[in-house]
């Protein structure tokens, strides 16, 4: 008696594996790539496209690229010439920062990581103490980078490259959050004059491009100040960047404030809390929590926008890149330089957007179909 003819009582039949075409890898291929004629054609076109693009990219960046050598003449394989990056690597990282002082940006960077981690993740031990450190980190960083009091003074003109990009990004973020909160609260205030002022400021800043604000900061700010008072270039750019991002931040936070149910406001009032108490203890903790993904997205935008300072003559990553491209020794290597800078930005921005996505999933679960 063969197996197929065996009789089972109802409900006793052992589970059979699913047919080969309905589960596992083959089914996945069938369903996701070759479900119909149109789909198959699409897949083939995509494979063809991918093959050509990937092989070109791999040739240019790796197999056909030159990694060792001294001058541009050594680059004869047809691909990228990465020598320009190696030659100017220190400039890309530190700008014109004095070579013997490189430990200071390095130390600042390590401390920055220590300061940022407790802000990003709420499940690390002793978070409160670490947060305290995060709060004083900007002052430590400023002291370490600019010097004085025992350290050699380094002029902000000498800051550059990734260092300057990070300084701009972090300062913009740190400054824009409190200003943004004040603007958002002002926009929802009951006082008509305060509200009008906040609305005007926010809408004005959001209506003009960042570059005009930077032009304003670099050309008009010196006119606004009393004679003899002079802000350096970096500070002017920082003021522009902070004003710009605080307007966007205010709108994000306003979204959070509006999402808090009215009962929370009324509850706080009923408890006899003053305006600032209710904001600090009841409303803002909830509102900010909702909009953290939005805040992170604003940060990503701000971080990318810091590149615009290269137009007003600061040497951030792009500013250093423009100098490298103009170098006679490395003429014509713009794609390599820009690709390297793009990679640096991609890594940090992609990490931030992943974090924001992770947070979004963590904050509201159960809404997905």
């Amino acid at each position: 008696m063969s197996v197929t003819e065996q009789q089972y009582a109802p409900g006793e039949h052992p589970d059979l594996p699913p047919p080969l075409g309905e589960a596992g890898l083959i089914a996945w291929f069938k369903k996701r790539l070759f479900s119909s004629v149109g789909n198959t054609i699409l897949t083939l076109v995509a494979v063809f496209f991918l093959y050509h693009v990937l092989s070109a990219i791999i040739f240019w960046t790796l197999t056909g690229a030159t990694f060792t050598g001294e001058t541009k003449a050594d680059c004869d394989l047809g691909g990228a010439c990465w020598l320009v990056i190696g030659d100017r690597f220190h400039q890309f990282m530190y700008g014109l920062y004095p070579t013997d002082q490189y430990w200071r940006p390095n130390l600042t960077f390590i401390l920055m990581v220590v300061a940022i981690v407790p802000v990003l993740f709420d499940n690390i031990p002793h978070r409160g103490k670490f947060l305290l450190f995060s709060a004083i980190f900007p002052f430590i960083a400023f002291y370490l980078l600019s010097g004085g009091w025992g350290l050699e003074t380094v002029d902000t003109d000498e800051w550059g490259g990734l260092l300057l990009t990070l300084v701009l990004g972090v300062t913009g973020i740190v400054a824009s959050l409190p200003i943004g909160i004040v603007l958002a609260l002002g926009r929802r205030s009951n006082m008509p004059i305060v509200r009008t002022l906040c609305v005007c400021f926010i809408e004005f800043i959001r209506g003009v491009p960042l570059i005009t604000i930077l032009f304003m900061a670099s050309n008009m700010l010196p006119l606004f100040l009393p004679e003899g008072v002079n802000f350096d270039k970096l500070l002017r750019a920082l003021i522009g960047v902070a004003l710009f991002s605080s307007a966007y931040m205010a709108e994000v936070i306003r979204g959070g404030l509006q999402a808090i149910p009215k009962g929370q406001y009324e509850g706080a009032d009923a408890m006899g809390l003053s305006y600032w108490q209710s904001m600090r203890l009841i409303i803002l903790p909830q509102a900010l929590r909702i909009v953290i993904p939005g805040i992170v997205n604003t940060f990503i935008g701000l971080y990318k926008d810091t590149t615009l300072v290269s137009i007003i003559g600061l040497f951030d990553l792009i500013g250093i890149g423009l100098v490298a491209v103009a170098d006679v020794k490395w003429r014509g290597l713009a794609p390599e330089t820009y690709a390297f800078i793009a990679l640096l930005f991609f890594i940090s921005c992609f990490a931030m957007s992943r974090y924001s996505l992770w947070l979004e999933n963590k904050l509201h679960t159960g809404h997905k179909r």
Binding site: L33, S35, P192, G207, T212, N219, P222, E227, A334
Partner: protein, 398 residues
């Protein structure tokens, strides 16, 4: 009322006026106004002092002074170095509008296309679009503009130009050269016919909708209107005897003469803006389509609607409500981002007027004020138009 009076009485009799909310509110607003006023007086005083000290001229007289510098791209009006700064403003404004308008159109088409591809059941296609979107969104736009510009400048020189379609289209590092259309007598009839066809098709669509609502009879609106919009201008073109000539570019000496030259500055900016914004728009479109509950699709399939009708009649109208507000801000972003033209020297309003004119005249306040005003106006116009459109497509709720 009586409670309020009682409270006031207690306030004045007790600790301080500060327990009265209305007084507090007035006090703080007065304080804000006072501080702001003091700040403004401080700034105005300093500015006046500094301007006098540096010998900077004030007022808008510079708009009538000769600019004295050349602008390479001025497709809409004649411009030479002898024209005024006012003319520079107009040239820059039109260049900004041109690249923003073309950028918005390209970004919308590409973005919608990518957004739909991203939702494709085909895993490979969806992944490719995902990679494209992530790469584009996470790299600064300025860098992308510079990269495209570098690529266009790395094209072959004039002598080794790439030619397409039998020398009709020529591509080299100085730009893309296409034949210049030379409309002859009676060509004006073609655009007139096009406008007529557009009006007729709007009218026909309305009439067909009304008829369908009244009688249930369905007319092939899309086919008829397409035929009308393409056919009528063609007919006008044929009737007038094909009055269109082209001036082809020819290599004379070291450069091409004739034809329309599309400069690499424009192309690089347009490419970068469109590709960058398209990545954002595709995410908006994807989110919009995904926001429509799956039950809607199932219900429409249960009613027996075709997949294409499900998309057009059920999904899209609901998705549009979600898509349009973020789409508006993408359009605004694109327009504002076009100011990055200054990095590669495309003469938009920031590069020509806000850059060169500012440096020549030194009148930073007037120039930056006018430039900002232009962007504010454009922003208001775009968001006004999109709000009007949004009101049209939004659900009418009771």
């Amino acid at each position: 009322m009586s409670a309020e009076t009682a409270q006031n009485a207690r306030g004045s009799g007790g600790a301080s006026l500060f327990s009265d909310q209305r007084f507090r509110s007035l006090f703080f607003q007065a304080l804000v106004i006072g501080l702001l006023g003091a700040f403004l007086v401080f700034i105005v005083y300093n500015t006046a002092h500094n301007i006098e000290k540096r010998g900077i001229q004030t007022g808008f007289a510079f708009l009538d002074a000769a600019a004295g510098y050349d602008i390479a791209i001025s497709p809409f009006m004649e411009y030479t170095a002898t024209h005024t700064h006012g003319r520079v403003f107009l040239v820059g404004l039109f260049n900004t509008l041109l690249v923003s308008f073309l950028g918005i159109i390209a970004a919308t088409f590409l973005g919608v296309f990518l957004g739909v591809l991203r939702l494709s059941p085909n895993w490979l296609v969806s992944r490719i679009v995902y990679c494209y979107v992530e790469f584009t969104r996470n790299v600064p736009l300025l860098l992308q503009i510079l990269l495209w510009y570098a690529i266009f400048l790395a094209l072959p020189a004039v002598k080794q130009s790439i030619t397409m379609f039998n020398d009709i289209i020529i591509l080299n590092k100085r730009g893309l050269i296409v034949p210049e259309p030379l409309p002859g007598d009676g060509f004006m009839l073609v655009p007139v016919a096009l406008v007529l066809a557009l009006f007729a098709s709007i009218f026909f669509a309305r009439w067909a909708k009304k008829t369908q609502a009244a009688t249930g009879k369905i007319y092939p609106v899309f086919m008829t209107n397409t035929a009308m919009i393409i056919g009528l201008p063609l007919l006008a073109f044929a009737v007038t005897g094909f009055p269109l000539d082209f001036a082809y570019a020819e290599l004379k000496g070291f450069n091409f003469k004739g034809g329309v030259v599309i400069k690499p500055e424009f192309t690089a900016l347009w490419f970068a803006l469109s590709l960058y914004t398209a990545a954002f728009i595709s995410e908006t479109v994807r989110a919009g389509i995904q926001s429509v509950s799956h039950g809607q699709t199932e219900a429409s399939e249960a009613l027996g609607l075709r997949p294409s009708w499900t998309m057009r009649l059920i999904i899209l109208p609901q998705a549009l409500r979600v898509i349009i507000p973020p789409m508006t801000s993408q359009y605004l972003n694109l327009t504002k981002n076009s100011s990055l033209a200054v990095a590669i020297g495309y003469p938009d309003i920031v590069q020509s007027f806000g850059g060169v004119t500012l440096n020549q005249t030194g009148q930073a306040i007037e120039v930056i004020f006018i430039t900002m005003l232009v962007y504010l106006t454009i922003s208001l116009l775009i968001s006004g138009f999109m709000n009007w459109y949004n009101n049209r497509v939004s659900l009418v709720e009771r």
